[in-house]
């Protein structure tokens, strides 16, 4: 069933989009990640203009994360003050990210910049995931080493705040900076950034794992909402028809993925996810380094 996407200005098969949403939702439910990092590249691969893929990807991530946030908030797993600090950084980051996005589009380098940031971020994160889980698999039976709270380096910083839920007394600057960085990435890549935010919260901020998921979801929902709004206002790149079709499949897929995820063991899951992330990075890298079939491209002048 062909459907016309009003903002992407193209006709696509609606079932393909629902299926894509389902697949990504299923993977995200299975592995417990947002899935935006898979969705945006897949949309670009089926021919959606990169600007629309990124903006609508952020919008889809917003929809996919809302119910998770509600569930976590109900179980009191959200550190609201910490979330507020992260979100403050994230909002500033998304604002900066959208400006950078607009600049890259004017220069005609948006497609390559989006692809390249995916290659770098996914390559690093995927490699770390695989290495981590391999190391953990090798010494599965041994007791886990005590988690390192990195109290040392952040102690000298000013603006100390007390985060009761996370049992932390630390400067507001590191979470602000982390929120900002993820906000920039969210605007450029159309992701929630959970796959980077969660490790950063655990290893850099030293937050207890119980509140990490809920607090990161708060950040993701707020920042993707900001990115959606800014992209719509500044670049007119959000396609609500695309978003809703993806969500339709995504929500169903996520439930199925969560149900199946219980059967996978933690380390194998992480290794599989790491390999998947690496595969996406490799595919995008190949598209960048392979000689293009058509060296020329035409687009409506954006200004």
């Amino acid at each position: 069933m062909q459907i016309y996407l009003p903002i992407a200005e193209m006709s696509v098969d609606a079932l393909l989009l629902v299926g894509l949403g389902f697949l990504v939702g299923w993977l995200s439910g299975l592995f417990g990640v947002g899935g935006g990092f898979l969705l945006t590249p897949l949309l670009i691969l089926i021919g959606v203009p990169p600007a629309v893929a990124v903006a609508s990807g952020a919008n889809q991530t917003l929809g996919a994360s809302v119910s998770g946030l509600i569930a976590q908030a109900r179980r009191a797993n959200v550190d609201w003050p910490m979330g507020a600090v992260l979100v403050a950084g994230g909002l500033a980051g998304s604002l900066a990210g959208v400006q950078l996005f607009a600049l890259l589009r004017r220069l005609g380098q948006l497609d390559a910049a989006v692809a390249l940031s995916y290659v770098v971020i996914l390559g690093v994160v995927g490699a770390l995931m695989v290495m981590e889980s391999l190391r953990a698999l090798l010494r599965r039976r041994r007791a886990l080493p005590a988690r390192m709270h990195q109290h040392g380096w952040a102690h000298g910083l000013p603006f100390k705040m007390r985060f009761r839920k996370s049992r932390l007394y630390m400067s507001a600057l590191p979470p602000l900076a982390i929120g900002f960085g993820i906000g920039v990435l969210s605007a450029i890549m159309g992701v929630g950034g959970g796959f980077m935010l969660v490790p950063a919260m655990i290893y850099l901020l030293g937050m207890p794992t119980a509140v990490v998921i809920g607090t990161s979801l708060l950040h993701i929902v707020c920042v993707t909402a900001a990115v959606t709004f800014l992209q719509a206002v500044q670049l007119g790149a959000v396609d609500i028809v695309l978003t809703l079709l993806l969500l339709l499949g995504g929500v169903a897929g996520a439930q199925l993925g969560v149900a199946m995820g219980g059967r996978l063991r933690g380390e194998e899951t992480r290794a599989l996810l790491g390999l998947l992330v690496l595969a996406v990075a490799a595919l995008l890298l190949w598209n960048l380094i392979a000689p293009p079939e058509e060296p020329f491209s035409v687009e409506r002048a954006p200004w």
Binding site: Q2, I3, Y4, L5, P6, I7, E9, M10, S11, N59, Q60, L62, G63, A64, S65, V66, S67, I70, G108, Q109, D111, A112, L116, V221, A225, T228, F229, L230, Q231, A232, V233, G236, V238, I240, V241, T243, L244, L247, L248, G250, V251, A252, A254, Q255, L288, I289, A290, P291, P292, E294, P295, F296, S297, V298, E299, R300, A301, P302
Partner: protein, 246 residues
């Protein structure tokens, strides 16, 4: 479409006595093409009649359709540090979003070069002024990519002639046709001179939900952005409730 053609011929037959004085009469099968959410392309029929015989040995017919113009940028990929990035670019100002030329014979065989260039008859006669990177390769690439997309068409012999007086030509509009006002020119050519011209027009308009969404996104982007946020959040929440119960 067969029905449309028949109606057209009947109409022409009825008009014929009154139209005797006219050297050339032409009409379009539609004045308005509606692009809905399910639009997959359509074709427009140009038909008409002439006073003098047309076809082999007689007069010739040339049909040109032009869409709304917009500025376009053509970019060439270059290799930088092993990566293929967009390099030099050329900007073309008044690029027709759609262009089709059909004739009983190819335009360059019907008309002198000067006339063709002056009236923009033929893809090689389109007035495309470029700024930025120079070189004929950018113009050629623009031509090639537009042709591949079916937005620019140049095919000879697509005008069908019946009974040496009636002609019809079909202009295929792909699903990606830009919205706006289109002009159609029909030329009657006799011994390398244009002897009569008909100027017609039609409109490609987005209609239905897609058009309303697009209008809102362009007209009130802040409201549209808020709506996107609220709708996505609502859909995600509703969906999870429905599928968890189910």
């Amino acid at each position: 479409m067969v029905k449309a053609l028949l109606t057209a011929l009947l109409l022409l037959a009825a008009l014929a006595p009154g139209a005797r004085a006219e050297a050339l009469v032409a009409r379009l099968s539609a004045e308005r093409i509606a692009v809905t959410t399910a639009f997959t392309g359509e074709s427009l029929l140009v038909f008409g009649s002439t006073e003098e015989p047309i076809g082999p040995g007689g007069d010739e017919i040339l049909v040109v359709a032009r869409g709304p113009t917009a500025p376009f940028v053509v970019r060439r990929k270059v290799r930088v540090l092993g990566l293929w990035l967009n390099g030099p670019s050329a900007r073309f100002e008044e690029v027709p979003g759609f262009y089709a030329i059909l004739g009983s014979r190819a335009a360059w065989r019907l008309l002198p070069e000067a006339v063709r260039q002056e009236r923009g008859l033929g893809l090689d006669a389109l007035p495309l002024a470029a700024s930025g990177a120079r070189g004929p390769a950018f113009r050629a690439a623009l031509l090639e990519l537009k042709r591949e997309a079916g937005l620019w068409q140049e095919e000879a012999g697509e005008v069908e002639i019946a009974g040496a007086r009636l002609f019809s030509a079909r202009i295929p509009l792909p699903s990606t046709v830009p919205a706006g006002a289109y002009s159609v020119e029909v030329y009657l050519v006799r011994s390398r001179r244009i002897v009569a011209t008909e100027f017609l027009g039609f409109e490609v308009a987005r209609t239905g939900t897609a058009a309303r969404i697009e209008a809102l996104a362009r007209g009130a982007p802040a409201l549209y952005g808020l709506l996107c946020v609220v709708l996505a959040a609502l859909a995600g929440w509703l969906g999870s409730v429905v599928f968890r119960r189910g």
